[in-house]
């Protein structure tokens, strides 16, 4: 029997390496299901899952929806606009209403860090964090790990650099925790105004220039730079960001080795990453998307399991 994940998946920081490996290993067989003609298994048949997205998202929500439907669950999407939230309903009340409807699982994305934990503490349903504020985005971190593992075999000792606005990025944080737990060496690269002040205490190498990061890394996870950062005064312009920190073909050509390129999407072509890199031979961006559905199926599958005590009761005759 497998080590349980607990009731919820809220973050990668509290997980053990074994739990992370369990999720990645479980995702492997789920990849195959998306290759079948009939992309469906009956595993979560009769389960009700609500996608509670307080922040707009296309790719994450669709990825979760595919994962849920391919497991035969019934899904309901609740978006931020036109919902009771805009009428002023608090998160607590939303949670209580969901519970009253006997929802099995909730996938939540919210603009406040800690919102997923807040919800999880108040309802019995399984809660999956699809991104809370700038805190964590655990399923994104997991699919990045799976993609890297597919190419490297093992993450132990591998050098992965996260490039961009680490300060405001939940994807960066999940990646840092996940990579470190699996034994990788982690670097970050970006203007200091976009790196957390205490970044060196996270146990990562800090690179002030993208050239130095490219010299060091075996893989780059390039984060999306948001326009708001310019308006918030953290960097002068997107143009300068591309000139100083952009991942361009010229810079990669000077690298001492082939470097894997990841990006959580959506991409700002010509800002943090150039088109010929995003579409180039070392980019695994589309694999990340494919792996995303498999990882989310694995998480749903593992969380839906019952408590360990049931396993004891189920042991007895071999059930053939």
């Amino acid at each position: 029997m497998t080590a349980p994940l607990g009731k919820d998946l809220l973050a990668l920081e509290p997980l053990t390496p074994e739990q992370i490996r369990l999720i990645l290993d479980t995702a492997e067989p789920f990849k195959e299901i998306s290759e079948r003609a009939i992309k469906k298994v009956p595993t979560l048949r009769g389960s009700t899952i609500v996608n509670l997205f307080f922040e707009a998202s296309t790719r994450t929500r669709i990825s979760f929806e595919f994962a849920e439907k391919r497991l035969s669950a019934d899904t309901v999407n609740v978006g931020a606009s036109g919902s009771s939230v805009t009428k002023g309903e608090t998160l607590v009340d939303t949670a209580r209403n969901l519970e009253a409807m006997r929802i099995d699982m909730v996938v939540i994305r919210h603009s406040a860090s800690g919102a997923a934990q807040f919800l999880a503490e108040r309802i019995e349903s399984n809660v999956i964090n699809a991104g809370d504020g700038t805190h964590e985005h655990p399923t994104q971190g997991l699919l990045d790990l799976l993609t890297l593992r597919d190419h490297f075999g093992t993450l132990e000792g591998r050098r992965v650099c996260i490039c961009g606005d680490v300060l405001h990025s939940r994807v960066a944080r999940s990646n840092i925790w996940g990579l470190k737990k699996l034994g990788a060496q982690v670097g970050v690269c970006g203007p200091r105004s976009l790196l957390p002040n205490a970044v060196s205490e996270l146990g990562v190498e800090v690179f002030d220039r993208i050239e130095a990061a490219i010299e060091w890394a075996e893989a780059l996870n390039v984060l999306r730079l948001q326009l708001e950062r310019m308006q918030g005064g953290y960097i002068p312009s997107l143009r300068e960001y591309n000139r100083v920190f952009g991942v361009t073909r010229e810079r990669l050509e000077r690298a001492p080795r082939d470097i894997l390129i990841l990006h959580p999407g959506p991409m700002n072509r010509g800002v943090e990453i150039d088109s010929d890199v995003a579409d180039g031979p070392h980019s695994v961006i589309l694999e990340q998307v494919t792996n995303g559905v498999a990882v989310r199926m694995a998480v749903l599958y593992l969380l839906a399991g019952g408590p360990p005590e049931l396993a004891e009761a189920a042991k007895g005759g071999s059930d053939r």
Partner: protein, 340 residues
């Protein structure tokens, strides 16, 4: 190797001497503060580098030395003015980069850093490149442009530090105005780290200083002029030092003028914070009494006002004790009837 002869040979048309390897600057007053050297003697140069210093005596030099008579002259390392205003572009009627660079050279300054409060403000790579090229054309003291921290020096949006450094900027500053927003100062210090340049701040808290004409003290009280308290400078000084501590950036404090500022800088340096500072000649040599009689020549248009006697003494002591790396600076040309 050509043998030297008195006077050397002169290349036609360029005005340059065909310099031999060894030169002696004989009999001048040789001054080098970094070595605490101030004595009359001979400075021997070889291959463009200082080889030796002989105190005044009867040393004779062979034919392979070119001897330059420096009797009555001062021989010193070239000074660097890290803070000057060359007024070009915009106010060429007052000063240009060329006139400023030549004036600097005459005064013994081999390099100057030009502040960006020009018209328009030097806040982009094209403007920085312009200043650099004008300096090169002037062919006098080297001119190192300083770029603005914020676009238009308005204190809102960061200028493109990377582009400006690429075009030759050696630092960034909004001098002429304080950086009122602590968030902008912090971000500037962090962003500047990427390019290894200092951020120079004009320390004057705007709400305390508004409308003030001179230092707040007994003279302003008697003359009935609105004063600027020393805290207007000190509040920004400590703010900038603390931000330098948090960000690990290098802050340079412009035209320090109060005793309190000196103490704060010492506090910062004791803790290993990357802070450097400068003072102006008039702050070291004058006191607020010079304003008596409504002497408008003594009113500083944008820099901090001349302070009380105690402050002047303290600033001078600070410089002598080396507790802050000050430089004589603040050269800026003003026309007589400059609107304040």
């Amino acid at each position: 190797m050509a043998r030297d002869r008195e006077g050397g040979t002169r290349e036609q048309g360029t005005g340059k001497r065909n310099d031999p390897t060894r030169v002696v600057l004989r009999g001048g007053r040789v001054v080098d503060p970094s070595q605490r050297l101030d004595a009359t003697g001979d400075l021997v140069l070889s291959d463009g580098k200082v080889e030796n210093f002989w105190r005044a005596g009867d040393t004779t030099y062979g034919d392979d030395y070119r001897v330059v008579d420096c009797d009555g002259l001062v021989v010193s390392p070239g000074f660097i003015d890290v803070h000057c205003h060359l007024r070009e572009p915009g106010r060429e009627d007052v000063e240009t980069i060329a006139t400023g660079a030549r004036a600097a050279a005459v005064g013994g300054f081999t390099a100057v850093c030009a502040m960006p409060n020009t018209q328009p403000v030097t806040d982009n790579q094209a403007a920085v490149g312009f200043v650099l090229r004008q300096g090169q054309t002037a062919n006098a003291a080297r001119v190192h442009p300083i770029g603005a921290i914020s676009l238009g020096q308005e204190g809102k949006a960061l200028a493109e530090f990377g582009e400006m450094v690429g075009a030759g900027a050696v630092a960034v500053s909004d001098d002429g105005r304080p950086v009122a927003s602590a968030h902008l100062m912090r971000t500037a210090l962090e962003y500047a780290r990427t390019f290894g340049i200092p951020v120079a701040d004009h320390c004057e808290e705007p709400t305390l200083a508004a409308g003030g004409a001179m230092n707040e003290g007994i003279v302003s009280a008697r003359l009935g002029l609105k004063g600027i308290p020393s805290e207007a400078e000190e509040i920004m000084v400590i703010r900038d030092i603390l931000l330098a501590r948090r960000t690990g950036g290098h802050v340079h404090l412009c035209h320090m003028s109060t005793k309190g500022s000196v103490e704060l800088i010492r506090w910062g340096k004791e803790r290993g914070i990357r802070v450097t500072a400068e003072a102006c000649p008039h702050h070291l040599s004058l006191t607020e009494d010079v304003v008596n009689g409504y002497n408008t020549n003594a009113l500083c248009a944008t820099g901090p006002s001349i302070s009380s006697r105690r402050t002047t003494r303290r600033t001078t002591t600070m410089r002598r004790s080396g507790s802050s790396r000050t430089r004589l600076t603040g050269s800026s040309a003003w026309r007589r009837r400059w609107p304040s």
